[in-house]
């Protein structure tokens, strides 16, 4: 970074289905989105606020030479954005999509070149980290093109991640940023917090009138591909209101795209009953049509039915165009009942036993009912497993643009609360479902510099390392492992911990620890042990201890939550010279 003072506060929403970048140059101007140049069609470059998070690898000579070139990428060999998404729909085996979900998928080698998943020989591949870097690189180049005098790498940049991203996925996100040319790591911020910052920014000083001490705000974020829940408590600190993120939900791969597909299958079944069989191309057209129909039927004053037309593939349009319709009651049955069923507060997502062999693809949830996932989240988020009763509700994500979806969720949540005698939650007026996260992130970037409302929270999970018990060896039985808490839940940025236990490590050898996390265990102190079965196993951590070979040194584990929001683990020698060995995540996948 140069010595120049950053001129802009920038927020980047690196989304599963699209990315946005918002920025502000001063405290008086609200953050505004940057128009993002991208290929719309070979030979055509247009600006859009959203950059679809898709990466397409064309075959040699598939498009005219130079037709995918951008000002900063003249010899383009691949393409991201609108055209990547549109072309990729017809050629999925050359398309990288949902790279962000792969980034948080512990079952695969996340630095390995595995995407496009299932791509045949001859198609270029990238790692999930490289794909994320490709999108970030595009945003950086677009910014630098528009602001040559103040390059992005020299600004105050905040990059958002799902609240459910564990320490490993956060680390990989920053690795992607580094690959994309951010010399200084951007600060990480959880997306639901960003949405709340945007709400605070829109409300101005009046936000303190909308909530009171003791309030608990539930942020429901339903995007294109993922659903994320967070709880943020309003606390009193020295007489002023403070916000504190108290719980985050699991990473649920469910979103608007699932809904479009569910509707498309309904329409396909309807057409098949009439004797019409759709090919793949037509099926995509149906899915596309269903997205538009969904938005109309879920919007204000919905009609009872929306006509759906499926154009022919060839140039003959008239007579070859199929016609059907999507009716309100179908939408109610498929979407509202399927994704938002009115369940009781003690409902839990159904998890059918998996067959012995499962593919390694993305871990989609078996249960599409978002309300059941929500009930499960609220039931485990409270102290000692008590059901949390939110008093306010903030929506974010494209799906929640629909007033019907918002009302539905508020109504079901209100029912759960009424059963416990609590009042219905206040729905906080949402902002812009597509831009709230990047705008909120830019607000936060500025608030860090100039002062403003801050949400506290620290780490979203408690982290543990696996340590073998010192027991008499029994042949054939591996020694039992205790999970020892190395970073408690809510550990603040910039703080450190040290495990009381000391270990003897052999220099010159690879060392590896098992590593676990839990978003729910809230009262474990550093050094507390528990059986690992109660936790989620994350990527192992490893290091190679350089030094005189064979020498044994006594070390203690240190955990450090960095200023940018990642977790670092160090092995520090007890005796002088107190050498420090950094442990890194091994993300080659254990599945």
């Amino acid at each position: 970074m140069s010595d120049e003072h950053p001129t802009h506060a920038v927020g980047i929403d690196l989304g599963t289905t699209h990315c946005t970048l918002s920025a502000t140059a001063s405290a008086d101007t609200p953050p505004a989105p940057l128009p993002l140049p991208q290929i719309l069609s070979p030979g055509e470059i247009g600006e859009r606020t959203l950059l679809p998070s898709f990466l397409f690898f064309p075959a040699d000579g598939q498009f005219p030479a130079g037709s995918l070139a951008l000002a900063w990428y003249p010899a383009a060999r691949d393409v991201v954005g609108t055209f990547a998404r549109d072309q990729g729909a017809t050629t999925p085996l050359r398309l990288v999509s949902s790279a962000k979900s792969w980034l948080s998928h512990a079952g695969v080698d996340r630095r390995g070149e595995i995407l496009p998943w299932d791509a045949p020989e001859g198609v270029p591949r990238v790692s999930p980290v490289q794909a994320a870097a490709r999108y970030l690189g595009h945003l950086r180049a677009a910014w630098d093109d528009a602001h040559p005098e103040s390059p992005l790498a020299e600004q105050d940049v905040v990059l958002t991640v799902p609240a459910s991203f564990d320490a490993v996925a956060r680390e990989l996100t920053l690795e992607a940023a580094e690959l994309a040319g951010f010399d200084e790591p951007p600060r990480l911020l959880e997306e639901p917090q960003a949405a709340l910052y945007d709400w605070v920014a829109q409300r101005g000083a009046a936000w303190r009138d909308d909530v009171a001490v003791g309030d608990v705000i539930l942020v429901v974020d339903i995007g294109g591909g993922t659903t994320d829940f967070s709880l943020i408590a309003v606390r009193d600190e020295d007489g002023t209101l403070q916000l504190e993120r108290v719980a985050v939900g699991d990473h649920i791969l469910l979103g608007g795209d699932n809904m479009d597909l569910a509707l498309a299958y309904t329409v396909r079944a309807q057409l098949e009953q009439q004797g019409t069989v759709l090919d793949d191309w037509q099926m995509r057209a149906v899915t596309h049509g269903c997205r538009a129909a969904k938005e109309t039927l879920l919007g204000e004053d919905p009609p009872t039915a929306v006509p759906l037309t499926i154009p022919s593939r060839g140039s003959r349009l008239i007579g070859k165009t199929l016609r059907t319709e999507l009716r309100r009651e179908q939408l109610d049955a498929v979407l509202l009942e399927g994704f938002f069923p009115a369940v009781d507060a003690d409902a839990r997502p159904q998890t059918p036993r998996r067959a012995g062999l499962t593919t390694l693809g993305l871990p989609y949830p078996a249960d599409a009912a978002i309300t059941r996932h929500l009930a499960a989240f609220l039931s485990r988020a409270g102290e000692d497993g008590a059901f949390v009763r939110p008093t306010a509700l903030l929506f974010n994500g494209g799906v929640t643009r629909s007033p019907m979806v918002r009302e539905r969720i508020a109504e079901i949540l209100g029912g759960w609360l009424a059963a416990t005698g609590a009042p219905a939650p206040t729905v906080l007026p949402g902002t812009d479902a597509e831009l709230a996260v990047s705008r909120g992130a830019a607000y936060y970037a500025r608030a860090r510099r100039d002062g403003g409302v801050r949400i506290r929270g620290g780490t979203a999970q408690a982290y543990y390392v696996g340590i073998e018990r010192a027991e008499l060896a029994v042949p054939g039985i591996p020694p039992r492992v205790d999970a020892v808490c190395v970073a408690p839940l809510g550990m603040e940025e910039g703080t450190q911990t040290q495990l009381p236990q000391a270990f003897g490590l052999v220099l010159g050898e690879e060392v590896s620890f098992r590593f676990f996390g839990s978003p729910t265990v809230r009262h474990d102190e550093v050094g507390a042990t528990r059986p690992p079965e109660t936790l989620t196993e994350l990527a192992p951590i490893e290091t190679s201890l350089e030094g005189e070979e064979g020498q044994i040194v006594q070390v203690r584990l240190h955990a450090h939550v960095t200023e940018v929001g990642t977790l670092e683990l160090w092995a520090v020698e007890d005796a002088e010279p107190q050498r420090r060995f950094k442990l890194s995540f091994d993300v080659r996948g254990q599945a």
Binding site: P42, E44, S67, S315, L317, I318, L322, R323
Partner: protein, 193 residues
């Protein structure tokens, strides 16, 4: 007296004539007399030099650029084809199809083309009054933005009924083109492998 067989005019020429004739009748007494005679069946011999073909409005060609740049027009057409199958629709013979078939296709075209148009243009009404409202036209009104029809007599200010609110483009943002792009390919042929 035999009237020489008159060659029928092309559609464009007829349209031009239909639009301009009322004005010319108003201001050209000699022409009005000839038309009067025609309608009475006492057609006089057509003037030896018939009215010239409707003048094609040809602005003085700029000295530097002899060929007009058609790229933007082709680009817009390509966008309308890509988003709404506009060229497919116009190039097809509709005569053999039922209204229902044409209606189904029209939905594709309407939905897609309006989406495509909105991406590149912002179109707004020229006049904000509702159609059917009474509109006053003060002296010096912009004749390019508002056109008078009907009983156009007297001096401004004029008062009339808004028959059509007109359209104007408020913003046009065509995508940039990469070098070497051939805009005359409105839609490439597609071959599925």
């Amino acid at each position: 007296m035999d009237v020489a067989p008159v060659e029928s005019l092309g559609f464009g020429a007829r349209l031009w004539l239909a639009l301009t004739l009322p004005f010319r009748l108003l201001f050209d007494g000699a022409l009005a007399a000839q038309v009067e005679a025609l309608s009475q069946g006492t057609a006089p011999a057509l003037p030896a030099t018939p009215e010239p073909e409707p003048p094609v409005v040809e602005p003085a060609p700029p000295e530097t650029e002899p060929e007009p740049d058609t790229t933007a027009a082709l680009q817009l057409l390509a966008i309308l084809q890509r988003e709404g199958r506009f060229v497919d629709f116009l190039e097809e013979d509709v005569s053999g199809f039922s209204d229902a078939d044409i209606g189904a296709a029209a939905r594709v075209v309407h939905e897609g083309c309006s989406r495509g148009l909105k991406q590149v243009l912002t179109i707004a009404a020229v006049r904000t009054e509702a159609e059917g409202d009474t509109v006053k036209l003060a002296e010096g009104f912009d004749a390019a933005r508002t056109r008078m029809t009907g009983n156009v007599v007297g001096e401004p200010p004029y008062s009339g009924t808004l028959a059509h609110h007109g359209w104007q483009v408020e913003r046009i943002e065509l995508p940039a083109l990469t070098s070497g792009h051939d805009p005359s390919i409105l839609a490439p042929a597609e071959v599925e492998l």
